[in-house]
C-alpha cells in the first residue's frame, strides 16, 4: 500500500486494491436508491417534517451518497495499488463458498440436518485441502457435535428431512425430533 504524505487523517492514508472499485459500486448503489425515493417512499401532506416517512430514507441515502462521493474522490487521488481486478476476483471466488452454503441449507429438508451437516463439513474439509485421516475424522466429529448439541440437546427449530419419511414410524419420530 502506498501512502500519500499529504493526506490528512480523515481520508484514507493508503489505498487497498479494490477500494476505489467498491467505493464506486456503493456510490452507484446509493445513487440508484436515491433516484427511487419518490416511488419507494411516501410524502404525507399536512404532516410535520419529523413525521414524514420519507425523511429518514432521504437522510440516510443522502448521507451515503455524500460520504460515498467524498470517499471516491479522495480515494481516486491516492496513488493506485495494483491488483484491483485480482481483488474483485477474490470477491467473486467467495461466491463459490456461498453456493455450497446455500446447497447445504437446501439439502436439509431433503436428507435431514444430520446427514446434510456431516456431508457439508466433510465436503468443505476436503475442498479446503484437509484430507488427512485426522482432519476427516475431526470434520465428522464436529458435525456430530453440532447436531447433537443444537438439534438433539437444545431442540433448535430445524426441519426434519423428507428422507426420514422412509424410516419406520417409531424411528421416524426420533429422527425428525432429534436429528
Amino acid at each position: 500500500m502506498q501512502e500519500d504524505p499529504d493526506a490528512p487523517h480523515v481520508f484514507p492514508i493508503g489505498r487497498k486494491p479494490g477500494e476505489l472499485l467498491f467505493a464506486a459500486l456503493i456510490l452507484l448503489f446509493s445513487g440508484l436508491l436515491l433516484a427511487q425515493i419518490g416511488w419507494q417512499t411516501t410524502w404525507l401532506p399536512k404532516k410535520a417534517l419529523a413525521a414524514q416517512p420519507r425523511l429518514w430514507p432521504a437522510i440516510s441515502l443522502g448521507g451515503m451518497a455524500l460520504f460515498g462521493l467524498l470517499l471516491w474522490l479522495k480515494t481516486r487521488n491516492i496513488t493506485r495499488t495494483p491488483g484491483r481486478w485480482r481483488e474483485a476476483l477474490c470477491w467473486v471466488k467467495s461466491l463459490e463458498f456461498v453456493g455450497w452454503y446455500v446447497l447445504y441449507v437446501a439439502a436439509i429438508p431433503v436428507i435431514g440436518y444430520l446427514l446434510a451437516t456431516i456431508a457439508f463439513c466433510l465436503f468443505m474439509a476436503v475442498r479446503l485441502g484437509y484430507r488427512s485421516r485426522q482432519a476427516i475424522l475431526s470434520a465428522i466429529g464436529f458435525a456430530l457435535f453440532v447436531v447433537l448439541t443444537f438439534k438433539t440437546g437444545f431442540n433448535v427449530k430445524i426441519p426434519g428431512g423428507a428422507l426420514y419419511e422412509l424410516a419406520p414410524e417409531d424411528l421416524r419420530y426420533i429422527l425428525i425430533r432429534y436429528f
Binding site: P8, F11, T41, M64, L71, W91, V105, L128, Y130
Partner: protein, 497 residues
C-alpha cells in the same frame, strides 16, 4: 441490602450459573482463536439466547463479551497475533516479552491487569448506580435522540483514517432499518413490491451475515497461518497477581479510561487503550522501552480494554443505546423478551441491573481461575487451522439464520451480507457503523418524531440541561475532529516543505 438479596435471588439458579460458565469459558476459547472473536461468537449465539430468559441469555452473552479479551491476550502475547482486534496493543509489549523468554510473566500480567480492569469498572458502576438511577429518568425523547446521534457521530469520527467509509456505512445501516412498513403512518419504504421486504430486514440475519459468514469467507480466502508455539515454562501464574501491585497506578488510570470510554456510546475499547497506553508511556520512567516489552504498556492495554464491557452496559441499560456492535447485538435480546432498556429499567429494576453486575464479577473470577489453570491446554486451540475454523463458523451460523424462520430467503440475505462484510474486512473498512446505524437509526427516527411533536422551535429542542450538554458534546466531537484534520493537514504540509 434488600436490593442485594433480590439481585442474588435473580442469579442463584442453575441455568444462570451454567450460562455464566459456558459464556465465560466459551468467550476465552473464542478470544484465543485468532480470526473468530467475540462478535462472531455473539452473532452465532444470539438466536439461541432468544429461547432463554433475559437474565440467562444476557449472562451467556456477557460472559463471551467480557471474557474474550482475556483469551485474546494469549495469541497476542505468544505469537504476535491479537485474538480479538482490541488486543492489538497487547502485542506491542507482550510479544517482545515472549521473545526474551518472559511469556509466562507476560500472560500472568495480562490476566491480572484484565481482572483488575474488569473488577475496577464493575465496582465504579456499582458505586455510581444510584446516581445513574436518578439521572436516567431525566432522559426524555429528545435526550435519547441526541444521545443516539452522539453515538453515531462518535462511531464515525473515532474511526481515524476511515471517517468517510465509516460515515457512509453508518448511513447505510440507518437506511437498512427504514426498509419495510414504517410504524407511524404504515406506508411502505423501499419494499419494491416484495412481500419479504415488508417486515424489514431482520437484525439477526444482518448480524450473522456481517460478522459470522463474512469472517468464514475471509478465512476461506486466506492462507492458513502456522504459528511457531513458544516455550512458556512451567511456573505458576499466581505470583503475577502480586506483581501487579508494582504497577497499580497504570492499572488504575487505564481502568479509569476504560470506564469513561465504555460509557460514551461509539468510543469503546480502542480509544480507551490508546489513551491508557499513551498515558502510561508519557508518565513512565522508561518511555523508550515501550513497544520493546515494557510490562507497563501491557498492563495499560489490558486493564483499559477489559474495563470497557461493564461500562458499555450503562448506556445500553440506562438509555437503551448500544455503544458498539456487541452491545447492539445484546439489545436485541431485550427486545425479543419485551424488556425495553431505558430510564424505566434503570430506575425500577435496579435488582436486575445489580444482578448483571454480580454476574460480571463472577465471570472475571471464573475466567482468571480458568486461565491460571488451563492456559497450557488453551494454547492447543490456537493450532486449529484457520480455514477449518471458517468451516466451523459457517456451520454454526446456519443454526442462527435458519432456525429463526426456516427461511431460505433469510439464508440468501445473510449470505449477501456475508459477502458484503467480507469485502469490508478485506478492505479494512469498519463493520460496526452498519450495526450501530441499524439499531440507533430506528431509535433516532422514533424519538425525533415523538420529541418534535412537543417542541415549538428547534431551539426548544436543546433547552433542557441534559439535551444541551449532549448537543454541546456533538458539536465538540465534530469540532475537535475538524480541528484535528486541519492540524494534521498543516503539519503534513510543513513537513513537506
Amino acid at each position: 441490602m434488600d436490593l442485594l438479596l433480590s439481585s442474588i435471588d435473580i442469579i442463584a439458579r442453575w441455568d444462570v450459573i451454567a450460562a455464566l460458565f459456558i459464556g465465560s469459558i466459551g468467550g476465552v476459547l473464542v478470544g484465543a482463536l485468532p480470526g473468530v472473536g467475540a462478535a462472531v461468537a455473539i452473532a452465532i449465539m444470539l438466536p439461541a439466547t432468544f429461547m432463554l430468559e433475559p437474565i440467562v441469555g444476557l449472562t451467556a452473552l456477557l460472559g463471551v463479551y467480557g471474557s474474550s479479551m482475556f483469551g485474546g491476550a494469549i495469541p497476542a502475547i505468544l505469537v504476535n497475533t491479537p485474538g480479538t482486534p482490541v488486543n492489538a496493543l497487547t502485542t506491542y509489549d507482550g510479544f517482545p516479552m515472549t521473545q526474551r523468554g518472559e511469556a509466562r510473566r507476560a500472560l500472568g500480567l495480562a490476566y491480572s491487569a484484565s481482572f483488575f480492569g474488569g473488577i475496577f469498572a464493575i465496582l465504579c458502576l456499582m458505586i455510581f448506580a444510584p446516581v445513574l438511577a436518578k439521572v436516567a429518568p431525566m432522559f426524555g425523547a429528545r435526550e435519547i435522540f441526541l444521545a443516539a446521534l452522539l453515538g453515531i457521530v462518535l462511531v464515525v469520527v473515532t474511526h481515524r483514517g476511515q471517517v468517510l467509509a465509516a460515515g457512509m456505512l453508518a448511513c447505510f445501516g440507518i437506511f437498512l432499518q427504514t426498509i419495510g412498513i414504517e410504524g407511524s403512518a404504515y406506508t411502505q419504504r423501499f419494499t419494491f413490491g416484495q412481500s419479504w421486504l415488508q417486515n424489514g430486514i431482520d437484525l439477526i440475519v444482518v448480524v450473522l451475515g456481517l460478522f459470522a459468514i463474512s469472517q468464514a469467507l475471509v478465512l476461506f480466502l486466506d492462507e492458513d497461518k502456522n504459528f511457531p508455539m513458544p516455550h512458556v515454562g512451567k511456573k505458576g501464574f499466581f505470583h503475577t497477581l502480586l506483581e501487579l501491585r508494582h504497577f497499580k497506578r497504570v492499572a488504575t488510570v487505564g481502568s479509569g479510561f476504560g470506564v469513561i470510554c465504555g460509557m460514551i456510546p461509539g468510543v469503546g475499547e480502542f480509544m480507551s487503550q490508546f489513551m491508557s497506553y499513551s498515558y502510561a508511556q508519557r508518565t513512565s520512567k522508561t518511555p523508550e522501552t515501550f513497544g520493546k516489552g515494557n510490562p507497563e504498556g501491557l498492563i495499560a492495554s489490558e486493564a483499559a480494554n477489559n474495563s470497557v464491557p461493564p461500562a458499555a452496559m450503562v448506556p445500553l441499560l440506562a438509555l437503551g443505546i448500544p455503544g458498539e456492535e456487541l452491545t447492539a447485538m445484546m439489545l436485541s435480546v431485550f427486545y425479543v423478551h419485551n424488556v425495553i432498556p431505558g430510564p424505566a429499567l434503570f430506575a425500577n429494576q435496579m435488582d436486575f441491573i445489580l444482578a448483571l453486575y454480580i454476574c460480571l464479577i463472577l465471570l472475571n473470577v471464573i475466567v482468571v481461575a480458568f486461565l491460571f489453570l488451563a492456559t497450557d491446554t488453551l494454547m492447543k486451540v490456537m493450532l486449529i487451522p484457520n480455514r477449518f475454523l471458517g468451516m466451523m463458523i459457517m456451520t454454526f451460523s446456519l443454526i442462527g439464520v435458519y432456525s429463526l424462520r426456516n427461511s431460505l430467503t433469510d439464508i440468501f440475505v445473510a449470505a449477501g451480507f456475508g459477502v458484503f462484510g467480507m469485502i469490508l474486512k478485506r478492505l479494512d473498512w469498519p463493520t460496526s457503523p452498519v450495526i450501530l446505524g441499524i439499531v440507533l437509526g430506528g431509535l433516532m427516527e422514533d424519538k425525533l418524531r415523538t420529541a418534535m411533536a412537543r417542541v415549538r422551535s428547534p431551539l426548544e429542542f436543546i433547552e433542557r440541561p441534559i439535551a444541551m450538554v449532549l448537543f454541546a458534546m456533538i458539536v465538540a466531537a465534530v469540532g475537535i475532529h475538524f480541528y484535528t484534520l486541519w492540524r494534521d493537514t498543516r503539519t503534513s504540509k510543513e513537513e513537506g516543505k
